[in-house]
Amino acid sequence: MSISSHLAKLGVRMIVTYLAVIASYFIIIRVLPVLAAGGNPLADPVIAALRRTAEDPRFNLWIEEAMKRFGLDRPLFPDQFILYMKNTLSFNFGISIFTQRPVLSEIAVRLPYTLSLYTILTILPITIGYYLGIVSAQHRGKKLDAALTQGAIISYIVPSWLILLLIYYFLAYLPKRLWGIYIFPLPVKPPSIEVADIEAFKYLLWYMTPLIMAGTLAWTGPWIYFIRQIVISELGSDYSMVALAKGGAPRYVLRKHVVPNVRPPLMVQLAYAVPGIFGGALIFEIVGNWPGIAYFSYQAFLNWDFPVMTAFFAISATLIVVSLFVAELLLLLLDPKARAKG
């Protein structure tokens, strides 16, 4: 099978999955609550959210209009479903029920927070993990390797928010209590993303440091372990045996023969990791009071802000589909074995 036909098949599969996923979100966040409400319109969370907003005198008279706009006065199938699919697939999410501003501009406001934090928290763990993983594999069976592996395992199983809690306890609450100083600020007043104002920028860095520390500690471990396992299995393979038998120095074999084989799976893993940037880490952001997209989606879920929930689900799903496709593509381009297999 040629690459193009393989890709076409993959593309069709992805598109079908994507459509089904978007439809399943409708079932989860619209049909399920309506069924649970059992025909009582007041128990329908979307209508409840609309009524909550209508308590604000500015929106007193808008319930009828809003229900028409969201199509709530029509039956779930097919009218609401078609409207939902049309809006979601065209990324026309409309206006947030809770904040009364366009959903996409609300997301755009949060995007700098999400991007600034998670770009750092994607690059840093991978870079550290890549080097430490190779070091660990090189020293296999020695104390350094054991220490790195155990560290990696602990980092993998301890959730990031727990590390963040510990950092806040030991470096913010406790020093304040004992000596009256904050080493890091309490997660109370989130900073604004500003580079021009030097004071604001300093506060931003100060505020972000515990988050970056916690995220790096929590997310480096899996990479170390991942790289170490690949390098070890590649070192045990025939071609590196041959290279070593020919008298190649272990260092040379590692650099010239093994490391190039580590990169394809790493790239694929990276492609899988990228959509996570948008969704962020919800509990992590709530503990750190970081106003990113995950925190925004949390508030949207609490208030049942239907357009924002749809947007969050749809954008995440789109990013995942794209990155899966890119991962497959990378695999084909980088790995001749996969290409041969078709």
Binding site: T17, A20, V21, S24, Y25, I28, I29, L32, P33, A36, P45, G141, T149, I153, I154, Y156, I157, V158, P159, W161, L162, L165, L166, Y168, Y169, Y173, L174, R177, P222, Q229, I232, S233, G236, G279, L282, I283, I286, V287, S297, Y298, F301, L302, W304, M309, F312, F313, S316, A317, I320
Partner: protein, 523 residues
């Protein structure tokens, strides 16, 4: 959750023939022994929870809020004092001679008084005890009394019952305290229950029913703690908060305390307002009075913001971590195993396509938002949260098992089994499933930390079961409930250490298993 890249060879399969082989390989590794030790420790802790702690994880107000562990506190920090005033004696009897008073000490503690006849009477019962209290004054003091007052005849006499506690030394010295300009109160005398003050608004109800109630009062309490009945309540409100009854009453170490029960009886057949027959009689039973001083130091791990025992919560948390963690991860893996086996065995058929499609679909449903949606729609319950987790977490296992099964189904022995007429179910359960067992055990073990941490995370964002006996709830309560601000390390650290500890235990076992099931990692 389980991210294993498993490649088996026949060599491994031949080595692991039985459970005993499996365990003997496992226990050759030091890390596995360490992991098993940790897990067994927490299992024992949780299993023996009923025996090693006297409180339930639900009990609150066991000691003062934020009480330290008693081993970490200096010796003069108050501990719990639990004390009963049992023996009452008739201290005083005033009134008309026509009233007969019969007094009896009850065997189980407390006293019974029967008053008969017409006229007025005032009876004071007293219980005097030496309270051994070797600590500095506590913040509050809790008193609980129980009285029963029964009119033996149909028509009733008017009565009032008042409970008071006094520090005998201070009262004998006639000590006074000026709490505001011109307002001087006697020291060391506290009324903690005044029956008439309680029932004045529901007079009819009490006139027509026998009185039978327990009264609990925490001193100081601005409403119940009227120091003298003669002072106007309105002038006392607000001022009284400055008086610490607990401090007044147990001023000295080893104080003489006295409980006074003042019963007033009035029966006049000529009174038209309160009609009373000539043969009226009243029976009053006073049960032992319970005095409880909440300690600022308590037990093995102190208390939390509600005065609940942290050690009890920790121990029951260990139980739910082990039991629920293993049960939920087993459910996840079994579900994934079933789907993976069927999909892999039927590779390429419609069943396989449908199952693979389902796997892809479930992969796209984000877990945390889904838990929030379900929590908002159906309520916050531990079972619902775990049900969502099980329904959404299995695809990882299913994918791996499908890949395995698809390679195993074309192996020679499966072909042979099929050739002699074995059915699909037989082949799946007898020939293919056993090959996957090491991987299944591995993924169950490696999923447990994730399951425990997941529950804790859900608790932290406010969607957890508020009554669950889990470490997650403890962490969440200590973060949002002031544990960090009050530096209650005895409350913050145990659940965190427990969660990390048990996770490391399971991960160590999983790591050892990984090297067994994944031969490429072995040397």
């Amino acid at each position: 959750m389980a991210r294993a890249r498993i490649r088996t060879t026949t060599a491994v399969r031949e080595k692991i023939r039985s459970l005993r082989d499996f365990l003997s390989i496992l226990f050759k590794k030091k890390s596995a022994i360490a992991g098993v030790t940790i897990v067994v420790f927490f299992t024992l802790l949780g299993g023996l929870a009923d025996y090693i702690t006297e409180y339930s994880y639900r009990d609150t107000a066991i000691a003062a809020d934020f009480a330290m562990p008693s081993w970490a506190a200096p010796p003069d920090v108050p501990r719990n004092v639990d004390f009963y005033f049992k023996t009452f004696k008739l201290l005083e009897k005033k009134g008309d001679e026509t009233v007969e008073v019969e007094y009896r000490q009850l065997e189980e503690g407390g006293a019974e008084v029967i008053i008969t006849g017409t006229g007025e009477a005032n009876i004071v019962l007293a219980s005097e005890e030496l309270l051994e209290y070797p600590y500095r004054p506590a913040k509050s003091l809790y008193l609980e009394s129980h009285i029963t007052a029964i009119n033996i005849t149909e028509n009733i006499a008017w009565y009032n019952i008042k409970f008071a506690i006094e520090n005998i030394d201070l009262v004998e010295q006639n000590a006074t305290l000026e709490i505001a300009e011109g307002i001087v109160i006697p020291r060391g005398f506290y009324v903690f229950y005044d029956e008439i003050g309680q029932r004045i608004f529901t007079l009819y109800q009490y006139l027509n029913e026998p009185l039978n109630r327990s009264i609990a009062a925490t001193l100081p309490n601005p409403i119940l703690n009227r120091i003298q009945p003669y002072v106007d309540i309105k002038t006392m409100e607000g001022l009284i908060e400055g008086v610490n009854a607990a401090k007044e009453l147990v001023l000295e170490k080893d104080t003489r305390l006295r409980i006074l029960v003042n019963i007033t009886y009035y029966c006049n057949p000529m009174d038209f307002m309160i009609r009373c027959p000539e043969n009226a009689s009243l029976r009053v039973v006073v049960k032992p009075v319970h005095l409880f001083i909440k300690g600022d130091a308590h037990g093995i791990l102190g208390t939390n913001y509600m005065g609940a025992d942290v050690w009890a919560q920790f121990v029951y948390g260990a139980r739910s971590a082990v039991v629920l963690g293993l049960a939920v991860s087993t459910a996840i893996v079994i579900l994934g195993l079933a789907v993976g086996l069927i999909a892999g065995y039927k590779l390429g058929t419609l069943t396989d396509h449908a199952l693979t499609f389902t796997i892809d679909l479930v992969y796209f449903i984000p877990l945390l938002p889904m838990v929030m949606v379900v929590g908002i729609v159906f309520g916050r319950s531990l079972y619902i949260i775990y049900a969502v987790l099980i329904l959404l977490a299995w695809p990882g296992v299913a994918r791996t098992v499908r890949h395995w099964t698809s390679t195993l189904r074309s192996s020679l022995y499966v072909e042979a089994a099929r050739a002699i007429g074995a059915g699909d179910l037989w082949i799946l359960t007898r020939h293919i499933a056993p090959q996957v067992i090491p991987y299944v055990v591995y993924s169950i073990v490696m999923s447990v930390p994730g399951v425990i941490a997941f529950e804790a995370g859900i608790q932290l964002i406010g969607f957890g079961d508020p009554e669950a006996p889990t470490w997650g709830r403890m962490i969440s309560e200590s973060y949002w409930g002031g544990g960090f601000l009050n530096n209650a390390w005895w409350w913050i650290m145990p659940p965190i250490l427990g969660l990390v500890g048990i996770s490391i235990g399971f991960a160590l076992i999983g790591l050892a298993l990984d090297e067994i099931v994944n031969p490429r990692l072995r040397r």
